[in-house]
Amino acid sequence: MAATAYEAPPPPPSAPPRPAPRRDAVRTWKWSHRLAFGTCWACGIALGLVCAAIVVYMGVRGVQYLNPRLLFTRPQPGLAQSTTGGILDPIVGTVILTIIGIAIAVPLAVVAAVWVVEYGRPAPLARAVESGIEVVAGTPDIVIAIFGLAIFQLPILAPVSFTASGGGVFGRSFLAAGSMMSLIALPLVFGAVREGLTAIPAHVREASWALGKTRVCTIREILLPQVRHNVATGAALGMGRIVGDTAVVVVLLGATLQIERQGSVPILGDLRGTGSTLTSYVYNASPAGEGNAPQKAYAAAFVLLLIVLFLNFAVDLLGRRRKETRA
């Protein structure tokens, strides 16, 4: 058995064991490295401080001015701050607008992502769709808003928006603003779902096809359940963007103080009517706007900040849970 000589394990290395590495101390570094190191720390801390300053300042102001009565009374026009009421309508407006936007964006984005990843033929068309969505993602929201106004002022779309008594179409309503808001959320959901789908290895699809399943069945039963977390993450990110957007609200929602019903039908009329969100309320109530109710602006801004922080937290949580299920 001469072969065993080849297969014997190699002898242990004869070199002396390395000395245990000493604790790496900044004192021993070159000056240039120390400078770079210090700069990195400084940048990180500075950014953290800016964020903390915003949150703490808004928190202090918010706690100072926010009270439950403010949250549950409707805003009123008035000259003195004591007569302008609460912020109920902007909160409700924010919620309605977010729901409409996400309800439109999520199905569209998921279907588009599934098509691009799973079919993607003809390839040039798929590429065009992808870059189109990227362009939408990079478009300033005011441009989207103006474009939406151009569309929703068409007489044919009068039924979904605020219409003047003379028949002039204003193109302003929750429906109009919501559908344009969906364009702002759509690229985020699309990107998240596309990423999730491309992360699923090809042999998982093939395993399903090899069991005699059609492509459609594979997508429904195997692929979509696996990207559920991506949909949720994308939707939460998109909600954050919708909640924080101002331009579309000002241009397409009218930014009226109260939710103004169009016609007499309760819910449908509200959707056709105008209103405001927290962002537009903050702008209008601040010294820059016409309301001149800075304390209420702070209170509303604090509520807005809480909503956005909550959504960020939700995104984080969803992402983390997904990693755990993968492992």
Partner: protein, 305 residues
């Protein structure tokens, strides 16, 4: 074996400066008839050798060629596949074994740019004329990577039994068939206490057996296996090899493997492929002990590949 073919292969060219023999060669020289695997599987292997040729012909390849664009991955291969026996496809990497296997259930069609020439017959019918979903329920496949779906063990097998999206067969009605499939895959005793456990919690070998259970749940006639053990440890490999020995009693097994010892242990017939050509096909004993072609002899002796 013509002379110019030998020169085309640098590994066989005697005129090249001779390199020191690779270490691996020593081991392979000792194992034309393998002594590997823990006792049971080896004994089973010896037992299997005694079996004669299997049942009727299930599939037949007639002058099959597969092209990726203009590259010919499989060239003019004709091959019978019999029920009741295991056919092992061996050959160096990139020689078209896996492509050939995937053509049998028309999975190559999903690759862009792949085209097929020649015929593949299943029980005398061209697979082209069968509906693809029906074909794949009759010609099932197990992959290299254990790939259970991220659902429960029960749902993994039930998914294979259900027709497309239909939820109609209820759990109670499906249970006997699921249990039967798991039992035939030799997995039932290990998971019987909790079929609702997530399938991804199982060990690698168990996952692969779950994939086999999933594949045989629809009672296919042919089972294709693409290196089913290459991601598994030796113990799981032995279990699966034994399982293949059992399964092949009731269906035709086609297995692609890089492991010559494994091909020898479980294959009744062995087909050796090289650069898309089918070089040799015959009884396992004959291919390993007394190969007709020189390239086969070199390959099974571990000279290249």
């Amino acid at each position: 074996m013509s002379a110019h073919e030998r020169v085309a292969d640098p590994f066989l060219d005697d005129t090249l400066p001779s390199l020191p023999p690779p270490r691996r060669r020593v081991r392979l020289d000792r194992t034309p008839v393998p002594v590997a695997a823990p006792g049971d599987a080896a004994a089973a292997g010896a037992r299997r050798r005694q079996r004669g040729p299997g049942g009727p012909e299930r599939m037949r390849l007639e002058r099959l060629s597969v092209l990726y664009g203009s590259h010919r991955a499989v060239k003019d291969v004709s091959l019978p596949i019999h029920a009741g026996e295991a056919l092992a496809l061996i050959g160096p990497s990139g020689c078209g074994k896996t492509t050939l296997l995937r053509t049998l259930n028309r999975l190559t069609e999903t690759t862009a740019g792949a085209t097929r020439e020649g015929r593949v017959l299943l029980d005398g019918t061209d697979v082209e004329q069968l509906e693809v979903t029906a074909l794949r329920r009759r010609v099932a496949m197990v992959f290299q990577q254990p790939n259970p779906f991220p659902m429960s063990i029960f749902d993994n097998v039930a998914y294979a039994i259900r027709v497309q999206n239909r939820k109609t067969p209820r759990r109670r009605d499906l249970e006997p068939r699921v249990v039967d499939a798991l039992r035939r895959a030799g997995l039932y005793d290990e998971v019987a206490d909790d079929l609702d456990r997530p399938a991804l919690r199982l060990s690698g070998g168990q996952q692969q057996r779950l994939c086999i259970a999933r594949a045989i749940a629809t009672r296919p006639e042919v089972l294709l296996m693409d290196e089913p053990c290459s991601a598994l440890d030796p113990r799981s490999t032995a279990v699966i090899e034994e399982l293949i020995g059992e399964l092949r009693r009731e269906l035709a097994v086609v297995i692609v493997t890089h492991n010559l010892a494994q091909a020898h242990r479980i294959g009744d017939k062995v087909a050796f492929m090289y650069l898309g050509d089918l070089v040799e096909y015959g009884e396992a004993e004959q291919v390993f002990v007394d190969p007709r072609a020189e390239r086969t002899r070199d390959y099974v002796a571990g000279a290249f590949g």
